[in-house]
């Protein structure tokens, strides 16, 4: 059995509202994320899940509400600040550099940790060289962790989808995040790939203590691996609690599974 060591609230989302013109994507959403936990956001298509993640890492700027991250209250986040303060993410539709190798893609996730100037890097000179060797070693640990050694030098575009998802995760991991946002990490995968991905998510959580916020459609997966679940529906929060609590919540059942169930 997994022993958990859940800490204090690391990320607190308070009364977030986001609208695109007349479309109210999120309406006064509040929830918190505790350190070291696996927190899932679920909901039907268009419920506002991805919008929520985009607010957390500063891609969208909510019109109302505030985000408290590591005790610091912010009106909204910006992407650079989010990345620098330890939030990394993966993307629903993959945003990898298709022509670059797996290793290079993962190295890009390391970019923020590199301090030498662009000129020194381009010339691969002195401290830049030492730095690259150091960062490369870290990326090799990520490659080892995700078991993608056979594809180290393969251009990402040539890999099957399930592996690309893994590379995407690898790039996020390379940033050594405290909070990892996963946008549908298992979408479009077969059963075996899903199992692998679940194992990686749990291992990341176990080995590095990374806090994980994930959006997922596969209810089996969500119920198995998350500690707590937020349920959104049409931009509103309709449930929040442990998988068991959420599963038995009549409103969640109605919204998520449809009236027939």
């Amino acid at each position: 059995m997994r022993q958990r060591n859940i800490g204090d609230v690391i990320l607190d989302v308070r009364n977030i509202s986001l609208a695109f013109g007349g479309v109210k994507a999120l309406q006064s959403i509040s929830f918190d994320v505790r350190e070291h936990e696996v927190r899932a956001i679920i909901g039907p298509n268009g419920a506002g899940k991805s919008s929520m993640l985009n607010c957390i890492n500063g891609v969208y700027h909510p019109q109302e509400g505030e985000i408290v991250y590591k005790g610091e209250v912010r009106r909204d986040m910006d992407t650079h600040h989010a990345a620098e303060s330890g939030i990394a993410r993966t993307f629903q539709n993959l945003a990898l550099f298709k022509g670059m190798s797996v290793l290079d893609n993962i190295m890009t996730g390391r970019n923020l940790k590199m301090k030498t100037g662009i000129l020194a890097q381009a010339l691969h000179f002195g401290p830049a060289r030492a730095e690259e060797l150091r960062e490369r070693e870290f990326c090799e640990h990520v490659i080892d962790f995700l078991e993608i050694q056979p594809y180290r030098k393969t251009p990402v575009g040539r890999l099957p989808y399930g592996l690309q998802k893994r590379v995407d995760l690898g790039r996020a991991l390379a940033a050594q995040p405290q909070v990892l946002l996963l946008d549908e990490p298992m979408a479009g995968m077969n059963v075996e790939e899903k199992q692998d991905m679940c194992r990686f998510v749990l291992d990341i959580n176990d080995e590095f203590g990374t806090t994980i916020v994930l959006i997922e459609h596969d209810m089996g997966v969500v119920m198995d691996i998350s500690d707590r679940v937020v349920v959104l529906d049409y931009g509103k929060k309709i449930g929040d609690g442990t998988p068991d609590e959420v599963r038995n919540d009549p409103e969640v059942i109605r919204a998520y599974l449809g009236a027939g169930h």
């Binding site: 059995m1 997994r2 022993q3 070693e137 090799e140 640990h141 490659i143 080892d144 962790f145 078991e147 050694q149 056979p150 594809y151 180290r152 075996e192 199992q195 291992d203 176990d206 080995e207």
Partner: protein, 651 residues
């Protein structure tokens, strides 16, 4: 040979000590870790082995105990084998993909108290059987990932074991050397469990004398020195891997390289460039398939070049390798081909430096065999088994053919029994099956002959030819000989057929189940614009059925030409809806078909074939890798194949 260690080094720990002394700074092992090859010298290896051995002793492992080792090809696996042997314990390698129930028997049979395993997956498996297996007291794991929260008292990190060992060594400085000195060449060195097509696996006990003698004979025959490089990529639990990457490495003092992961073997092989190589026919076949597929996608110029020069190679390459006379123009063309085609191709295959390449285990297709030899790769066949510590027959350079496995090597005597079974006398024979005197008596008779269970023929040149397992050779209803494996092999030589099962014992005709080779057939179908959704769908395409029918009919034409086998032509066949799999019990762990089991499992299909029906519905249970069970079902078409009249004997 001057390079080999003195015969006084008659146990593996002593051989290790010898190499640490005479070539302490030379590489003994390499491992690719974090993308970089890390080297361990003989001195470092000796040092690690010493620490592990002392650690195991401190943890209570005693002389004569068995220790289980479950892991992929990593240096620690080989170090642990040597460490256990240093203190007189007997290492038992187990396959990583063995399921829990298979482990229970072995753990009970060998009374295993200590197990060294690779990772969480293996730890979980051993913990799962702890209650049933009873005696297991210590489990050491190499990779701590996922095990952070495990609190079972049996668990110790391998790292920790080494630290314990170093302390113990410091406190008892004379212990290790005294233990190594106690070992005798007649002691049991290792135990190997045979997969066994029926019943429980049997533990084959080999002495140091047997393993070292066979390893030495192999080294002497091929002139192996400490300059060889080998790639350890087959399961360490298999005796062949133990001989090629442990016993022979310790005899000749050469370097063993461990690939980074199972998926990187091809590129790691390219980087290392082994000089001594073993692979079962299946691996050579997969390599050729991937070359063929890549050539089909290559540019027209490259394709043309490949086709032309492969023609030259077929004519000339084998003869050159055998040292036969070849005319100057042909030599010149071959040289040109080597420059443009064979050289680069050998490089892609990672075989640029291969001096000796072996294959064994199954019959190898003549075309396949010729392909590698024509490229200038010295591929040879050998014959042996777990019970004979591998080396029984080896083809010497210049006397190579696809049909035989060569003459007996030094020290071996062969005899064919009246029932056609091959009998062997060799210094490399097993001592016994562990705790199974009945089985031992069955194969090892008092007159010293080992009953191999293989049906063989010794030809006029003294070369051995294996036909089938003696017990599998059956009779058709009309009394004609039926050698199923012989037929299956002929089928499997086609790139489109992955696996075949021939049926016909005590029946009036021969029929076959066939597994298509997904990659090759899929590619073939794509080229013809045939769409398919998956394995079952692909196999049921009419065009694919016709393709397979053509293969079957070619085999029939072949069989018709052979005197005793004309009646064995395949009348009917079925393309199966699932791949035969060891997890479902259809194959052994070493990928041999379990014919009897398949006959029962697919009973309805067998009935349909012999009942003259055209199609049959079947539902089959499948086991997934995580242990869950599912079902696949399909309605399969039974195909008829053309047969040919038996060729008349030439007058």
């Amino acid at each position: 040979m001057s390079g080999l260690p003195p015969v006084t080094a008659d146990t593996f720990p002593r051989l290790l000590a010898h190499h640490a002394k005479v070539r302490g700074a030379r590489p003994a092992m390499r491992e690719k870790d974090l993308g970089i090859w890390q080297t361990f010298t003989w001195r470092q290896v000796a040092d690690e082995v010493r620490a592990i051995a002392c650690g195991l002793a401190a943890q209570g492992l005693k002389r004569g105990d068995h220790i289980a080792i479950i892991g992929a090809n990593r240096p620690w696996v080989y170090w642990t084998i040597a460490a256990a042997q240093s203190i007189g314990a007997i290492p038992v390698g187990l396959y990583q993909d063995a399921i829990a129930s298979e482990l229970v028997y072995v753990f009970q049979n060998a009374e295993i108290t200590h197990a060294v395993v690779e990772d969480q997956e293996q730890v979980d498996k051993v913990l799962e059987i702890k209650e049933q297996a009873g005696l297991i007291a210590h489990i050491y794991y190499d990779d701590p990932r996922g095990l952070r929260h495990y609190s079972q008292p049996e668990l110790t990190a391998f790292e920790k074991l080494r630290a314990i060992g170093r302390e113990y060594d410091a406190a008892n400085p004379g212990f290790f050397d005294a233990e190594v000195a106690k070992g005798k060449s007649s002691d049991a060195a290792s135990m190997f469990y045979t997969s066994g097509t029926t019943g429980h696996p049997k533990g084959v006990v080999h002495t140091y004398a047997a393993l070292i003698d066979r390893a030495r004979v192999g080294c002497e025959m091929e002139g192996l020195s400490d300059a060889e490089e080998v790639l350890a990529y087959l399961p360490p639990a298999w005796i062949g891997q133990n001989i090629f990457s442990y016993a022979q490495a310790l005899v000749a003092g050469f370097c063993v390289n461990c690939p980074e992961a199972a998926g990187t073997v091809t590129s790691d092989m390219r980087e290392i460039g082994p000089t001594y190589y073993f692979a079962p026919p299946r691996v050579y076949e997969n390599l050729l398939t991937s070359v063929t597929i890549r050539m089909e996608d290559a540019s027209r110029i490259k394709r043309g070049l490949f086709k032309y020069f492969m023609g030259v190679a077929e004519r000339v390459g084998g003869r050159l390798l055998d040292g036969q006379a070849v005319g100057l123009p042909d030599r010149l063309m071959y040289w040109l081909g080597d420059l443009t085609t064979y050289g680069p191709l050998r490089n892609v295959l990672g075989m640029s430096r291969v001096r000796v390449a072996y294959t064994a285990g199954e019959a190898i297709g003549p075309d396949l065999f010729r392909f590698y030899r024509s490229l200038g790769i010295n591929l040879k066949q050998l014959y042996g088994s777990t019970e004979t510590a591998v080396f029984v027959c080896v083809q010497p350079d210049g006397q190579v053919s696809a049909e035989t496995v060569g003459p007996p090597v030094a020290g071996v005597e062969l005899k064919i029994a009246d029932n056609g079974e091959l009998l062997i006398k060799s210094p490399g024979l097993l001592r016994e099956y562990y705790k199974n005197p009945a089985a031992t008596a069955e194969v090892l008779t008092n007159d010293g002959w080992y009953h191999s269970g293989d049906a063989g023929i010794i030809d006029a040149h003294g070369h051995l030819r294996i036909i089938d397992r003696a017990k599998d050779v059956g009779r058709l209803a009309n009394g004609a000989m039926f050698a199923p494996k012989y037929i299956e092999n002929k089928l499997k030589f086609f790139p489109f057929i992955k696996e075949a099962v021939a049926l016909g014992d005590r029946r009036d005709m021969v029929s076959a189940f066939i597994n298509i080779e997904m990659e090759a057939v899929g590619n073939w179908a794509e080229k013809r614009g045939i769409t398919y959704s998956g394995y079952v769908d692909l196999g049921s395409q009419p065009a694919v059925r016709d393709l397979i029918r053509e293969c079957v009919e070619k085999v029939n034409a072949d069989l018709a030409r052979e005197e005793k086998l004309a009646d064995s032509q395949i009348r009917r066949f079925i393309i199966l809806h699932k791949e035969l799999d060891a997890d479902d019990g259809e194959l052994t762990r070493t990928s041999k078909v379990r014919r009897g089991f398949i006959g029962e499992k697919y009973g309805p299909l067998v009935e349909a074939i012999y009942g003259g029906r055209d199609e049959q519905f079947i539902e089959t249970q499948v086991k997934f890798e995580d242990g869950r069970v599912g079902k696949v079902s399909a309605t399969l078409r039974i195909m008829d194949a053309k047969t040919f009249p038996a060729a008349r004997k030439a007058a």
